[in-house]
């Protein structure tokens, strides 16, 4: 059975960056992913990566913008680390081959992005995530003798040793159906967010909160789970992402009166206010009857004001998306968008080295909550988050592993997971289909746990999630085979999603104020006296979520009124 110093679960940007950092520091590394690494959802990140590299910029300005964007819920020590290390990381990416676009002088070009006081977003057209992900994979191929790749392996659970330290994981080889125990001195979760709890979402079908739920199940606290980002520009048709880069390049948002309504909400930053502000503004326009489209549920994004040549070189992908998925030529007419679920700020609680409260378990990227995004993430800060904390996790886990022996994981644990899978495969054809439960979950979350929330809706959501959990326990599947049984994996993922949804809802019920992405109609003001703190959720002995609190770290920026 495989044993490694560092086992990384998830091979998007955070996972691959962690793997490369750990390998460079001399660890024996394994990276495991339920999809081929280049299929990871980081590939869909479009707009760019923030770093204060311009001569007239400074990382403290980037940090302040991030703190303000977080609605002062972000931990400022971690934000300072992320922003001060950003320029070095961007240069590292450039040196290993990322094809960042240049300005006329041949230097990295920077584009404007939401919530930023300066142009500080480096980019590759509107495929930045793809370009970085593929370049990191190039590096993994280069270092194939030091990083073992387990592509299309599905982790089913994390293992604790008798000291309560994380000592490895159980996983299933999707191709053969074989189960295996992986021993590891450290495990780094890098398996992304849980956007699939929502329907529609910009997130890929693989974003089912696996790592968040796996950590939760072994008693690790989750933090800021109530903070769910709705992106201001997702296709009204099907929820696909239209990059913030479009507004960064100058596109306008228009209501049914043809007016740039953002002047009412954010007169200084207009379309480039932070995402929670823009999404709320759009939803208000829609709710007050100024939406566009047949059902009035859309807003127009007008990209025709961006010069065509610039659209070709910098926004190529959304030309494709408009044409292929909305039948709209964005260079000639406005495209109909609306706010849609995009990102979760919350996740597995970590410190700035990626360490969770469970020894030996790390988390980085969307699965984690450091917390650098607090109540609302700025556009182009997520790629940065994955890379900075992916690297730091990889380095820290390697250093930690140098002074210890391989832990003794209880290998009998594998039988529990084998039995769990056999039980799912063997279920009677009665009860509901997995797909029905998943659909109901997504639709319900998008109704009650969205841009605007209140006690009644959230309570109703909580009741529905509990019913769905009961139904999921007996939901049946069709595929009884071993080779590429995606059906059984879907059933396991549904369980993960329900855990994520439940912790999101209880946190949202608990936070009786409006901050960042959480807007409570029944508590419409930010309340720093009572709620300038993180909500932590832990799984109690009875399986029910238990809430506790942790302070927000403030280093130099006291909370102030947030205006754009």
């Amino acid at each position: 059975m495989p044993a490694h110093d560092v086992l990384i679960i998830g091979a998007g940007l955070a996972g691959q960056r962690a793997a490369l950092a750990a390998a460079e520091a001399g660890a024996a590394v394994a990276i495991m992913s339920k999809v081929h690494p280049v299929r990871s959802h980081s590939v869909a990140a479009a707009g760019g990566i923030n770093a204060a590299i311009a001569i007239d910029d400074d990382w403290t300005e980037h940090a302040y913008d991030t703190v303000k964007g977080s609605d002062f819920l972000g931990d400022q020590d971690a934000i300072e680390i992320m922003c001060s290390e950003a320029p070095g990381e961007a240069m590292h990416l450039e040196h290993i081959g990322v094809t960042f676009h240049r300005n006329e002088k041949g230097e990295l070009d920077l584009r404007a992005f939401g919530g930023a006081s300066k142009k500080r977003t480096a980019y590759v057209a509107d495929i930045t995530g793809q370009a970085i992900l593929h370049v990191l994979y190039e590096q993994l191929m280069r270092f194939h003798d030091t990083v073992e790749r387990y592509e299309e392996w599905f982790a089913t659970s994390l293992i604790l040793d008798e000291k309560g330290h994380c000592a490895g994981a159980v996983a299933r080889d999707i191709r053969s159906g074989a189960m295996e125990i992986f021993d590891a001195k450290s495990v780094i979760l890098a398996s992304g967010g849980n956007g699939q709890c929502y329907k529609p979402t910009t997130n890929a079908l693989i974003c089912t909160g696996d790592g968040i739920a796996q950590a939760y199940q072994i008693g690790c606290p989750l933090m800021d789970m109530e903070m769910v980002q709705y992106h201001p520009t997702t296709l009204a048709e099907n929820g696909f992402l239209i990059t913030e880069g479009a507004r960064g390049e100058g596109a306008h948002l228009l209501n049914s009166e043809g007016r740039r309504f953002m002047e009412d909400y954010a007169p200084n930053k207009m379309e480039l206010a932070s995402r929670d502000v823009v999404s709320r503004a759009e939803q208000t326009e829609i709710n007050e009857g100024r939406g566009v489209g047949a059902d009035g549920q859309g807003i127009y994004l007008d990209i025709t004001v961006v010069p065509k040549k610039r659209v070709h070189e910098a926004l190529r992908e959304i030309v494709n998306i408009g044409r292929d998925f909305a039948g709209t030529d964005i260079t000639r007419e406005p495209i109909m968008i609306r706010p849609g679920q995009h990102y979760i700020m919350g996740g597995v609680k970590t410190d700035s080295n990626g360490q969770t409260p469970i020894t030996g378990l790390y988390a980085a990227g969307e699965v984690a909550c450091v917390s650098v995004h607090g109540g609302n993430r700025l556009g182009a800060n997520s790629l940065l988050d994955t890379l900075i904390f992916g690297r730091r996790s990889g380095e820290h886990a390697t250093a930690r592993g140098k002074e210890m022996a391989m832990p003794k994981a209880p290998h009998a644990r594998i039988h529990d997971d084998v039995a769990m899978i056999d039980q799912i495969v063997g279920r009677e054809h009665s009860g509901r289909r997995i797909s029905e439960i998943k659909d109901e979950l997504g639709t319900m979350m998008n109704e009650y746990v969205a841009v605007y929330r209140d006690e009644d809706g959230l309570t109703k959501a909580n009741e529905i999630v509990h019913r769905l959990q009961d139904e999921a326990a007996s939901a049946y599947i069709d595929d009884r085979g071993s080779v590429f049984n995606q059906d059984v994996l879907g059933a396991i993922e549904l369980g993960y999603m329900l855990d994520c949804a439940e912790t999101t809802i209880v946190s949202a019920i608990d936070r009786k104020e409006s901050r960042g992405a959480q807007f409570r109609l029944d508590y419409p003001e930010r309340n720093d006296d009572e709620w300038l703190k993180h909500i932590n959720v832990t799984r109690g002995p009875d399986g029910e979520p238990q809430i506790s609190y942790s302070p927000v770290t403030i280093t130099r920026w006291q909370p102030e009124v947030r205006k754009y």
Binding site: I127, H134, E138
Partner: protein
Amino acid sequence: MAEFTLRLRRYDPESGDAPYWEEHTIELEPHRSVLEAILQARARFDGSIGIRCSCRAAICGSCGVRINGHPDLACHTHLDKAAKQSSDGVIEVEPMGNMPVIKDLIVDMEEVHWKKIRRVTPWLIAKQPVPEREYIVPRETMVDVTQSMACIQCGACVSDCLAMEVDPGFIGPAALAKAYRFVGDPRDDQHYERLKDLAEDPHGIYDCTHCFMCIDACPKGVAPMSQIMRLRRRAIHDHGIVDRNNGERHEEAFVSLVRQYGLLNEVEIIPRSHAGNSPLAKFTPTAAKVLLDSLPSIAKALLRRKVTPAAVLKPHKLAKQDLQAVKRIYEKLDGKGERNEFNIYISGRDEDNQ
């Protein structure tokens, strides 16, 4: 809402049975994708239908399949278009070609795709010394390589590559497009070495038969064949690489024959490709040997009437004004000084500019 029927190629490796077809009828709006239809069939009727998929928006590259015989991403093909293309209105979905099938629509991309990608040394070999900040490079070069960077590794081009069908060893369209991403990158230090390697490899850049299938197949506008042609132009014109596969000589002979006759002269092309770009080439021992070796092909071409005995003695003749027109194209290109390279990140697609 409209009704569509899917005919899916199913294969269960554990059953011992041969692959078979299975039909499902689903209801969706006509502009929804074939992937959504398959996912609906999976959700409603049969959870065991195997297909890799993730982003649904043509970015992750998971769902490469053949639809009515043509490779594409399932998420990138509209149902109405697919139904129209089909001969009987039923949308036929099967696994990609040139790759072994694992289960249903899931193929093994290792041998024909990933191994080939690894073959082209797929990482930047950076110029030294590495600068403290970014490498200063011309703005256009990074826009230029964005087209090959846009490849999502879906395998559609590999699925339809005719050269790979004949020579499974061919490095192939995806991997060679990847190679251009480094050869076109001014930060890379090994342009010559990379090009020399790919020119000398009998399965390298001169193994491409110029059939355009990969350009047609690519859902992202990467135009792999164009990238291969650019590798050739860089190898020949920028680095003067003369390869043992006679690729460079063949290209030179081709270009000068068309310049001279306005059309290809099949009789001249073989000797000139091997024994020097001159009318006397055919009288050399090298040419005699190649011609002798080529006899089976020549016989086949004669039998299939691709060449006639008359044409062997008398080359194609173009009308004078047509020949003049061809010559004018040459003069115009010769006079330009720089090469014309087509790139959608610079010029957009044809339909964007109408």
